[in-house]
Symmetry: C2
Subunit: 228 residues, 2 copies
Amino acid sequence: VVKLQGVSRSFPLGNKPIIALDKLDLTLEKGEFVVLKGVSGSGKSTLLNLIGAIDDPSEGEVFIHGQRLSSLSDKQKSQLRSQYIGFIFQAFNLIPVLTALENVQYPLSLQKVANGEAKDRATEALTQVGLADFINRRPNQLSGGQMQRVAIARALVTKPDIILADEPTANLDSETSKQLMDLLGSLNRKTGVTFLFATHHDFVLSRASRILELKDGHIIKDERLKNL
Amino acid sequence: VVKLQGVSRSFPLGNKPIIALDKLDLTLEKGEFVVLKGVSGSGKSTLLNLIGAIDDPSEGEVFIHGQRLSSLSDKQKSQLRSQYIGFIFQAFNLIPVLTALENVQYPLSLQKVANGEAKDRATEALTQVGLADFINRRPNQLSGGQMQRVAIARALVTKPDIILADEPTANLDSETSKQLMDLLGSLNRKTGVTFLFATHHDFVLSRASRILELKDGHIIKDERLKNL
Ligand SMILES: Nc1ncnc2c1ncn2[C@@H]1O[C@H](COP(=O)(O)OP(=O)(O)OP(=O)(O)O)[C@@H](O)[C@H]1O
Ligand SMILES: Nc1ncnc2c1ncn2[C@@H]1O[C@H](COP(=O)(O)OP(=O)(O)OP(=O)(O)O)[C@@H](O)[C@H]1O
Ligand SMILES: [Mg+2]
Ligand SMILES: [Mg+2]
């Protein structure tokens, strides 16, 4: 469902480019629950951005559902993201002037879903992450962990089949993290959503069916686990 | 060194205000290493903002080194913060157009420290958090954990005697977190800096001399530990 071939991503900086990812090969199958670990700066966010089609590799090819991203126009990439991918950003990226409900509804209006249905689905997604009473708050009226959960609800509302999450439990206490992982774990089992999570929490690692470890832009470990 | 008497903080919202903190009493002694825990939305960031003099209580009094904050002008509060307090924000709050070095230098230039000395001290602070090679990067050229560490270096560079940290290890892997906690632990022991950390990481909790637990804006637990 996701395939990377010889993918590199470097950033030009001064006289020597920074190589964030170095000739990566990777295949993710439908329904896998993959956790991505690695020290700060190892390339996790960069990898997620490439798979989420919000960044382009410097070399190599990225395929989502067999479609080669480099042959798509920006408009086609945008449609592909809207149709298949839910992205939870490390910095949340909520829109400050919209309420929590409007933030979560936004991807649905991009899909031209009718307003009434969009509102219902957004309300349900916020309820699933424990924020039913917060739907009319703006981001600056929310705690860090509440903002993180709005970002999560927004990624779920379009019922994507690939969810990319960049440290989704970083700002959550262990109780709230556990509830979130139960919710995502059940989505994975019931609807076969494919997950790729970057995380520093061992707690999330324990739910994974596969663990990838990055170091200096290389995959140094790829372990499949039997804890289903 | 920090004292709160009957402190409440509520936010007006619709017809019923949100009470984020409810008549809190709290005293922090010099050199304490206090960890603040509690579920998402329990009031940790709100409490840190009040102690850091970047927010005002709705009722009650906050004292820093015996000075009542409500009798100070904004200019005087700003000077007090610059002199005594280092703040590590949950959302980092780095200045996008400045490099890492310039971001860390900034509090020193507010203190009118000479440019040459400010540069040296900022470089040393960034080296202490493992970012010696990143001093000329801008925030958008850094990973999440690297940005977090720039925010930490900035809080340390003025050698404050109170450090307030809002989830400083949220975006750090366990190795980098451990290095950071060793650095801060040694500052606490050698120079008697008083720490108040909001965190969800049990790893940080294990270094505390005192644990405060918040729930719905109340302190429900205040435990002094013997692990020195
Ligand atoms: N401007 C505001 N208007 C209304 N409510 C607010 C505002 N700012 C914060 N709150 C509410 O106050 C409560 C405490 O928020 P606070 O940010 O202190 O929580 P926290 O313990 O830091 O949570 P987290 O662990 O998620 O960061 C939350 O329920 C939050 O929704
Ligand atoms: N625009 C850029 N210019 C230069 N270097 C960059 C840029 N963006 C990222 N980098 C570098 O690429 C490397 C990988 O960054 P990335 O954000 O993927 O790390 P990460 O594994 O997500 O780290 P963290 O756990 O701290 O979030 C880092 O060393 C970072 O400094
Ligand atoms: Mg990252
Ligand atoms: Mg907070």
